[in-house]
Every structure is written in structure tokens, then in C-alpha cells.
């Protein structure tokens, strides 16, 4: 009798545990589904904003064709400056966060975190050498800072964040993730403090 009661009690406890576990699983699955939906929305929103920028970039191109074989540095630099001036004029009201919007930022944070989870020591080592830049110089529509190298963006990060069309690229300056117009050498947007602090960071950008 006592044994039977014990079995029943055990079964009841097991049932409760199973019910709670299933509920937790269900909640987790729901959360994951919600997260996936949010991510899809963020990515779609980001790509939409990127496409809008690319249209603007293409609008700036007429009359100044791509240079694939010029013997003149003057011609190359002049094209860059013309492109930059035209894009800046089209985006006169551009503000920081126009592309990396508050809604998109968490998506990038998660993506960058997953890159760190894959190879944090490698990423940190790749980001050790910097030329520190005054944060105030980094604004939407400003030229990429003069005399600052185009430091490598760690491949593992690039493989986790959304792909960009050839007109644009990501660059890391200080701890910020920059969106840069490649031909116009222009900062398009900035996500500040997107990158983790790098222990042992030093000025060795040569």
C-alpha cells in the first residue's frame, strides 16, 4: 500500500516536471520563433535602406563612369571627390542611425556576438592595432578620416553580418562599425561601440 502510494507520488512529481519542462520548451520555441521573425524584419528593413542608398549612389554616377584603367591619379581622386559631393548633396539631411536604426541595431549586436562566440581570440587579435580617431570626426556624410588606414574588418565578423552590395562596405574605426561608400570614401552610417573592447589594443597602424 505504502509502495503503491510512493509510486503514485513519484508519477505525479514526474508528470509535474514534464508539464513544466514542456511549458518551458514551448515558451523557448515561441521566443525563438518571435526572435526569428524579428530578425527577418530587421534584415529586410536593413536591406531596404541599403537599396535606397545604392539608388542614391547610382544617381550620383551619370557622367562619371567607373574607372577601371586610368593612368592618372588625378582622374581617380577627382572621381572620388565628385561622387562624394553628389552623394552628400542628395543626403543633405542624413543623420547617424538612418541605416543602423535602433530597431536594426539589436540584430547586428546578436550577429556580432555570434561571430565572437565563433572566434573571439582571433577577432580580438585582428583588431589589436589601431589609429585612434576623434569620435566627433565620425559622422554620417563625412569623408572617411584622412591618414587613417582601412584596417582589416575581421573575416569572422564579415561572415556573420549581412552582406552588402559592392558600393558599400563595413569598416571598424575605434570600436565603431562604419558603413562606408567605397568609391566616394564616405561614411554612410555609424554604429558606435558595436565592437567589444580589445585588451592590449595599441597604436600600431602601419
Amino acid at each position: 500500500m505504502t509502495v503503491q502510494r510512493g509510486v503514485w507520488t513519484g508519477a505525479r512529481v514526474l508528470l509535474v516536471i514534464l508539464t513544466l519542462t514542456c511549458a518551458a520548451c514551448g515558451r523557448k520555441a515561441k521566443q525563438q520563433a518571435r526572435q526569428a521573425e524579428q530578425d527577418a524584419q530587421s534584415l529586410s528593413e536593413f536591406n531596404h535602406r541599403i537599396q535606397d542608398f545604392v539608388k542614391m549612389h547610382q544617381n550620383a554616377e551619370p557622367g562619371i563612369p567607373h574607372i577601371t584603367a586610368s593612368y592618372s591619379g588625378e582622374e581617380i581622386v577627382a572621381r572620388q571627390h565628385t561622387m562624394a559631393a553628389r552623394i552628400v548633396a542628395q543626403r543633405a539631411g542624413a543623420m547617424e542611425g538612418n541605416i543602423f536604426t535602433p530597431a536594426i541595431r539589436p540584430y547586428f549586436e546578436r550577429a556580432i556576438n555570434s561571430a565572437y562566440a565563433e572566434n573571439e581570440p582571433g577577432i580580438q587579435a585582428s583588431l589589436e592595432c589601431i589609429t585612434p580617431v576623434d569620435e566627433k570626426a565620425l559622422t554620417a556624410n563625412a569623408a572617411y578620416p584622412e591618414n587613417v588606414s582601412y584596417a582589416m574588418t575581421p573575416p569572422t565578423i564579415l561572415l556573420h553580418i549581412p552582406k552588402l552590395p559592392p558600393e558599400l562596405e563595413y569598416r571598424i574605426v575605434n570600436r565603431d562599425l562604419l558603413l562606408r561608400d567605397v568609391e566616394a570614401n564616405l561614411i554612410v552610417d555609424i554604429m558606435r561601440n558595436a565592437i567589444r573592447p580589445v585588451p592590449g589594443r595599441r597604436i600600431c597602424d602601419d
Partner: protein, 304 residues
């Protein structure tokens, strides 16, 4: 997969054998190119592919010009007809004068002789340099070209993203060249104290290079010269002191086979059949490293 055997002790033997074979080829190529010239240890075999390698060259100072002049002297002896640039080709690059001051002017003696340059981008290179005709990049950040049985894969290590990785895999997969040589700016392996090996780049890129049978990788960024002990069947070189120099910049991390960090230098390479010969020459004209790498069907025998 074809792998490498690297044996620096066989340098003299290989050179001797090559010289011994020369009479059989006489009349096929200009006699001047058939004889190993004074100061040149390469065998200068008939029909071989010959090129020079420079890195971090675009300083625009007297040292760069002196390296370029030494290269022209070497070209007259060895008849190399193209130059690989492993990045930092123009420090600056934002003003029109940089192109002339940091490249056109110093390398005029070589450009005037029709020597072609093929550039990779370094972290100091503005991406728009891809449109500079003398760099032969055709507007591309990464590209590939072939000379006889040697295919070169020129990478943009500043920005190794998904599309570039997919492109590289595709190009390597379809390559039928016996020799596959990749070059890029940031080193996967380096004993440089300033930068050293880039671990994230290595994590992503090394498996691809190994899987597709790349035999040699040329790199820059650290302002020194280094020949790295073969790593997984691939011989890595750092040539980052053709304009810039970090004197005493080589550290001790156990991967260095040979190095030079007291002056500027460049490499001359000759590939003939299954052999790759290299000679590294300082701006004063001194040979600071030389040797031969043999491509075989088996695994790699590292240097003793």
C-alpha cells in the same frame, strides 16, 4: 593533390643541375637569359616564369627609389617581366600626387621597360587604386591571372567577405595550373613583432588554401622579410620591407626559417616545371636569402 617538398640544402644541387642542363636549351631563348648572371643564383631556365615580389613599398622616400633601381639592375640580369605587389602600394593615396610620387616615379625604370605590376590592396591603400592602370587590377579588389603553368590569386585581406571567399573557392576549383600562388597583404603566418600572424584571417582562409592545393603564399604588412617554415604543405613568405622597414622587427616564435630585418629588400622568383627558385635581394644588391621549393605529388618534407 600536389604538395611541396622544400629543402634548402638542395639549393646548390638544384642550381648546379639547372646549369648543367642549359646547353640542351641553347638557341631557344636569348643567351643573356640562359646564363646565371653574376649575383643571380636563379638557374634562369629556358621558358621559365620569372617575376619579382615587393611589399609595403609605397613610402615615396629615397629607400623605395633605391629598391626600384636595384630591381631594375636585377631585371637586366634575370629578365623578370612582372612584379607582384603585396599591398600598401601607396601610403596616402588620397591626393593625386601620391600615385606619381609613391609609385610612378620610383618604378619608372621598370615601367619604361614594359614590366607589368599586379597589385593587391593593403590597409593603407584606398580601394579606388583598383582603377589605376599600372596596377593591372582591372577595377577589382580581388582577381586572378595566369602565366604559363602558374596561376596567381590576388586577395583583398582587408575585406575577406563571403563573396570573396566564394570567388576564391570557385577560381581554385577550376584552376588547372600546376602552381597555385596566392598573395595578400595581411600575413597568415609571420614572426613580425609589430603585427605577427593574423589569427582570424588564418582561421577562415588557411583551410581553403590547403584544400585546393595552394603551394606558396606571399604576404606583407610586417615591415620585414621572412621565409616561414612550411605550414601544412604551404610555404609562406613575408615581404613587407620594400619601402618601409621595421629594423629589428623579426621576433622569435619558432616558425621562422629565414629572415632579414635590417634593410629593405625584394624577391625574385623563377618557376620551371616542378621547381620554384627564389632569391631575396637587399637594396644594396646583397642576396639575403635564396633557395628552391619542389612541387611533388606526395606530402611535404619540411626543412631540417
Amino acid at each position: 593533390m600536389r604538395r611541396l617538398v622544400f629543402n634548402p640544402w638542395s639549393i646548390a644541387a638544384v642550381g648546379f643541375l639547372a646549369m648543367a642542363q642549359l646547353p640542351a636549351h641553347k638557341g631557344i631563348q636569348a643567351a643573356a637569359a640562359e646564363k646565371p648572371a653574376a649575383g643571380i643564383t636563379l638557374p634562369l631556365k629556358t621558358g621559365s616564369v620569372r617575376f619579382a615580389v615587393i611589399g609595403d613599398s609605397g613610402s615615396g622616400d629615397a629607400a623605395e627609389t633605391q629598391v626600384a633601381l636595384q630591381m631594375e639592375k636585377t631585371r637586366r640580369l634575370s629578365n623578370f617581366d612582372f612584379v607582384l605587389m603585396v599591398g600598401d602600394n601607396l601610403y596616402g593615396g588620397s591626393s593625386p600626387g601620391d600615385y606619381e610620387q609613391r609609385f610612378g616615379k620610383p618604378f619608372k625604370p621598370l615601367l619604361d621597360r614594359g614590366v607589368k605590376f599586379y597589385a593587391a590592396l593593403g590597409n593603407h591603400d584606398n580601394t579606388n587604386e583598383t582603377g589605376y592602370a599600372p596596377f593591372n587590377m582591372g577595377g577589382n579588389r580581388y582577381y586572378s591571372f595566369r602565366k604559363a603553368d602558374v596561376q596567381f590569386f590576388v586577395l583583398d585581406s582587408n575585406y575577406l567577405d563571403g563573396p570573396q571567399i566564394d570567388w576564391l573557392k570557385g577560381e581554385l576549383e577550376k584552376s588547372t595550373a600546376a602552381w597555385k600562388i596566392a598573395y595578400l597583404h595581411h600575413p597568415l603566418y609571420s614572426s613580425g613583432k609589430r603585427h605577427g600572424s593574423d589569427m582570424d584571417l588564418r582561421t577562415v582562409l588557411e583551410p581553403i588554401l590547403k584544400n585546393y592545393g595552394v603551394q606558396v603564399v606571399l604576404q606583407g604588412h610586417d615591415h620585414v622579410y621572412e621565409r616561414v617554415k612550411a605550414q601544412g604543405g604551404i610555404v609562406y613568405f613575408v615581404v613587407g620591407n620594400s619601402g618601409q622597414l621595421r629594423s629589428g622587427g623579426l621576433g622569435m616564435n619558432g616558425i621562422k626559417e629565414a629572415g632579414f630585418d635590417t634593410d629593405r629588400c625584394f624577391m625574385v622568383v623563377e618557376i620551371s616545371g616542378d621547381e620554384l627558385y627564389f632569391q631575396t635581394i637587399s637594396r644594396a644588391g646583397e642576396t639575403v636569402d635564396s633557395g628552391a621549393i619542389k612541387r611533388t605529388a606526395g606530402g611535404i618534407a619540411s626543412a631540417p
